[in-house]
Amino acid sequence: MANTTATTAGGGDFTSNLGRIYGIYTGGFIAFIILMAILSALGVENVVIGYLFMGFTIVIYAVIGVLSRTMHVGEYYVAGRRVPALYNGMATGADWMSAASFIGMAGSLYLLGYDGLGFVLGWTGGYVLVAILVAPYLRKFGAYTVPDFLSARYGGNLARLIGVVVLFSCSFTYVVAQIFGTGLISARFLGIDFNVAVYVGLAGILVCSMLGGMRAVTWTQVAQYIVLIIAYLIPVIWMSTVKTGVPIPQLMQGQALANITALETAQGITVHHITPFVHGGYDAKNYFLLILCLMVGTASLPHVLMRYFTTPSVREARVSVAWSLLFIFILYFTAPAYAAFAKWTMLDLVASGLTPENIGEKAGWMMRWAAADNTLVQICGKAATDTAAIVAACAEKGVTALSFADINLNADMIVLATPEMAGMPYVISGLVAAGGLAAALSTADGLLLAIANALSHDIYYKMIDQNAPTSRRLIVSRILLVMVAVLAAYVASTKPSDILSMVSWAFSLAAGGLFPALVLGVWWKRANSAGAVAGMIAGFGITIFYLVMTQYGADFDKATPNMELWWGVKNISSAAFGLPVGFAVMIIVSLLTKAPSRDMQDFIEEIRVPRGKQMMEEKIA
């Protein structure tokens, strides 16, 4: 049994040197950025810089993965339970901030203005629920996976199986979005076809998560956090300095907003960036329901919850949630500033007198993006691949001077394109690509691990072969990991939707399926097995029904008419129906059936106090 206390003399060497190791690593990364800037200045081609940025960072992650490889069960599933709170916070930050946060969010804020802030609020406030309702209690229980807890609390494999089904559905949806993100980055910065690029992204993901399970993923994620946060902050600090002379974008965002409003008014745009509840169909109802679904989903997503299984104690688990949110906050409170400065830059560009003839010269980056994928930039309603195409499209619509509304930028490209938009050197674009890749890879690693662990630990070991030796369990886990990843890459290549929507669906699925069972499992002793099983089936069932029927319809074809929205609630907030139904069914069925046994009530008492040994001890097979 791996020791579960914090650092001991033997195993502490690495842990006590963490600050120094990651300090050197950060310095090394900054030196690498400077080296790239020098190479770029010496005339090395842009695409080479792109390859170097992405290649170098992936090699670093792989090296960390190889160094922390393990065949020990406790290390593989929960990193030996000795990750200090602060570093677990950083790893959770990377685990959490995916392609959606890094690539998708600021782009959506750019397009949706105030209404996009629902994502910012939803993806931070959920940590309050994680800390007060769920994480410390699951840590005390000492689970390896979320279904482990469901099985112990609701006695039996049925609850475990449903837990695995929900886990699989939400994590798979989520991982598809990440692979989509890596594909998008590879397509633009490595210049390869999107359908091939998704598999290239996949290779990068597998290298890190295959080798060392949770331990390798943890230490890689810390490294990825450092890359992604540097890559996110530099362009926006740059824009803030150029536009306002002050390198604090979060503060200068106020000035950016004032300028945006002034420019919008001057250009006759009536729907202002700062006006609430008017963009993209987000009325107040959808805005608040989205916040609720994202927050509750946060507290139910297995790949996030399992990060708190790795801390040395319950106390550290709580502190770790706070650190996680702090590290996440650094990116999230920068995102609205990122969007504001990008919008200001674009409005300025339009104000400078854009015509279909001169846009190629003034904003050549749009054509490069349109060439990578023709849905990314559309001008006058057509793909803006070159000046001739733009002139032809605009002539058809009778547009002679381009307005802000004539230029249609895809939400998923805005962050990646901002360095070019604001005229920064190409090295910054390479850096942002590396950051986006780090965000997508780190989350994909966590997700694939959650899926593979559930399949190998919960299904294979706990339900099929209780006597399976350790080595076989870990091999099964790795094989499943590859199979799931390849399937996800295939789904990603079909482009099901934009990144932000796919990720939001995952949140709704987790919220509708798992939240009632997890929370009532700790906070309501009367909750019993029948109630939990019925609640999970009902909550998850309604959520996925609403999602599939409104997105694809009964014929599974996106193109044909689908089910009407219920009360106009967007399907990214599907849990708005699943969550109340899940709670209601679970409570009613629990009350109608027999109360849990005395033993179970004692078990719940034990989970509620930090002291005492963890409830589930793993035997070393």
Binding site: L117, A322, V609
Partner: protein, 84 residues
């Protein structure tokens, strides 16, 4: 199992949870319901309602969680159920 000390521990833990939940509802939802009114107040170019959603509530969540970790730990120690 259900000793008086344990009962009092759980009651205090529960009240802390409800306090946090109340603050969460306030910063997560209630304050944003008044966005239009708050937007009439402008500080450093920020309409206040926009600011609360972009930064204000986020800062509140972070501060709340560090405070919660300390507070819950104090309750643990007071009732001698902290980890050795």
């Amino acid at each position: 199992m259900a000793t008086p000390d344990r009962v009092s521990y759980w009651n205090k833990t529960k009240s802390l949870m409800f306090v946090m939940l109340g603050l969460w509802v306030f910063f997560g939802y209630v304050i944003h319901m008044f966005v239009e009114q708050l937007n009439t107040i402008v500080i450093f170019g920020f309409p206040l309602g926009f600011y609360m959603a972009a930064q204000g509530s986020l800062i509140a969540f972070v501060v709340m969680l560090f405070w919660f970790a300390r507070r819950q730990n104090a309750i643990d120690e007071e009732h001698h159920v902290n980890e050795e």
